[in-house]
Symmetry: none
Subunit: 401 residues, 2 copies
């Protein structure tokens, strides 16, 4: 609602905004009274930038809500992550870097084990190795369904992404996974008449899969759940008047950026340094850049406190290269918290730094959870960031006289 | 929504609230690491009051949104400025101190130049001097339209305010300014059947204006746009149970106060001192006073940092006179920021001071942007202020038992 109002007021400008997202940035102290990962990290460049910036903490989707990367990114991009929900199937496809189109219907797939009567005895087919799953997916990929394209992509162990592409497919479909053993897999039901073609196609795939996998062990059937198309969201161009680019190494983030209408840039290599090199090369071709850093979250989720500290320090070391591009506005923050002590995503507010040539600096010479708490941005919904970035970039005109 | 809830709980009390609004109060440092206008100003009285008050910063209409004075004032008066939008025509009339009634339909008018075929060749009639426009408005003021009163007021150069007053006028009308040259002015169209009488009246005015101005140069026609009546808003009496008075020297602010149902007091003179004298004279006749200071914004918008500092110091010098009236609640703040370095309104949060006999003092002995950041009000929507002022004035009863 709020950002749809902003849209009325957006005006063009010759300014550039850089949004640096350290995935899972927010943390927790390792011991009582201690420092978080960000506070532990030696970040002279971010600290110097902080002193010239407005600080705060962002809340992705509401108090106490832990988000995945999909909703976390939508929020920081200015989209209400509850209004614009990305369904499970679509997230699964995005997560393996599949270029999901807006008309595709995706689902989470998994291999399972049926007994001779067709009853489910293992919903995960003994968590068969990913390699074995890949071989089976090659077999299933031979299935043809008239008028549709079918895409199967391995995820991990028994899990895979399932995508149907074709005209008029609708994602209002029921799961075939009954979520328990001792019963048969269900068939796909259309939840509305417009989804009947998609239901027939999915059931046709399942029948053929049953034939092709018959007699194999442990995986002799597949189940599908969480059917979903991508939500339709206004693009960065439509909503903010921004020609936006994304620099991210992993599929999920590239997918969410594409959903927001960003151009996903090719990167020569798999390093943070390569990401910054791409930023430099393309600096004059866009007016908004989203640059994603994965390592902070990877370390947070695996409980590697020191690794997360190091990942933050590596970002800090590259900040001078960002500054030398002379962006009009810089945002440094995260999509959610991933404290190493929790080994998972969490609901804790995420440190946020907003620099701009017209910012009112808080004068706080440190970038960390406690320092940010004293900042003028406050503890705010993550959706506040984009309008503030636009304002600081001279891209929002006055409301009323 | 929030304040409509407050309305349920409002109770009478023998208390007085003074709201001192320094227009465009919020500022920015002149140089990196420097102080804002308010921080630069020597304000011993406001600083002493601050130490006994709750401090914070107000956000008029949402993050990143720069507001005009109309929405900025509505917000500080407790009305959601997006829900209660004041249209362009109404703002133009308010801005020249026209006493716009709730049934009036106003528009922005401007003189233009047509060629012999009736095609627009200059949408601003060469920005003719205001004096020349005044003479032409005298001519146009002779136009009579049955059953209606017509008011024309000069604004600046080619611009004027156009107001129709009469029973049953509705503002759902299209512009006649096509926003480009090389075409004819449009006629006014009713956007709904109830607006047809207003459309006929406006078109009748335009036909007569064409005849009266024919052959003149450069201004031989007028165009009208932004037709708008005042929004209907609950008055201070209805919403807050307050008998409210406004002390303001300029039309826009008197108009917005009138819209909120305040009585606009006459002022003997054009000075800040005269405004405070009016406050003193009428102190026992009302229980809410809005006192507006324009000079802070005028200096901010013209880039006069030192002038804005001086304007704030002049207000500070009058604070003892305010205190000697012994108000139960004092609010000192602004409708928006107008940093001198930007020479314009801006989106930055506005310093706010709330004093009351039952306030929990923050004990911060300074009134300034950074000091306010440490205050207990937080960085909050401006609409939070009125309920807090009412509560401190003993005018809100308990919710629930």
């Amino acid at each position: 609602m709020e950002n749809d109002f902003t849209r009325r007021l957006v005006v063009p400008a010759e300014t550039r905004i850089a949004m640096i997202i350290m995935d899972g940035l927010g943390g927790l102290p390792r011991e009582p009274g201690g420092k978080t990962e960000l506070e532990t990290a030696c970040t002279p460049n971010l600290d110097a930038l902080a002193s010239r910036s407005a600080l705060g903490l962002t809340v992705p989707a509401g108090p106490g809500i832990t988000v995945g990367s999909g909703p976390g990114h939508l929020a920081i991009f200015g989209y209400d992550p509850i209004q614009y929900e990305i369904g499970r199937g679509a997230l699964e496809a995005l997560g393996v870097d599949f270029e999901l189109g807006v008309d595709d219907v995706a689902a989470r797939g998994n291999f399972c084990t049926l007994d001779k009567a067709g009853i489910i005895v293992d919903r995960r087919a003994g968590r068969l190795p990913t390699d074995a799953a890949c071989e089976l997916l090659d077999v299933l990929q031979t299935i043809k369904i008239d008028g549709l394209e079918l895409f199967l992509r391995p995820v991990k162990e028994h899990r895979f992404a399932f995508v149907m592409r074709g005209p008029g497919l609708v994602d209002a479909l029921t799961d075939t996974d009954p979520q328990k053993t001792g019963v048969r897999p269900l068939t796909v039901q259309a939840l509305q008449p417009s989804a009947e073609a998609a239901a027939r196609a999915a059931n046709r795939f399942l029948e053929e899969a049953r034939c092709l996998l018959a007699g194999r062990q442990p995986a002799n059937m597949v189940m599908l759940r969480g059917f979903a198309s991508l939500p339709r969201i206004p693009t960065f161009a439509e909503r903010y008047g921004l020609h936006a680019a994304a620099i991210a190494l992993h599929g999920m983030y590239r997918g969410v950026a594409r959903l927001a209408g960003m151009e996903v840039l090719p990167i020569c290599g798999q390093t943070l340094e390569a990401e910054f090199a791409t930023l430099e090369e393309c600096w004059h071709d866009f007016d908004f850049f989203y640059l994603h850093i994965k390592q902070t979250d990877t370390c947070g989720e695996s409980g590697n406190f020191d690794g997360k500290v190091k990942a933050i320090e590596e970002v800090d070391a590259l900040i001078p290269r960002l500054l030398s591009l002379d962006p009009d506005v810089i945002f440094v923050g995260g999509d959610h918290s991933s404290p190493a002590v929790l080994q998972s995503h969490s609901w804790h507010p995420v440190p946020a730094l907003l620099f701009g040539k017209h910012i009112r600096p808080d004068g706080i010479p440190e970038f960390g959870e406690h320092a940010c708490l004293r900042g003028s941005l406050g503890v705010v919904p993550a959706t506040h960031i984009m309008p503030l970035a636009l304002a600081n970039a001279g891209r929002i005109t006055k409301y009323g006289a």
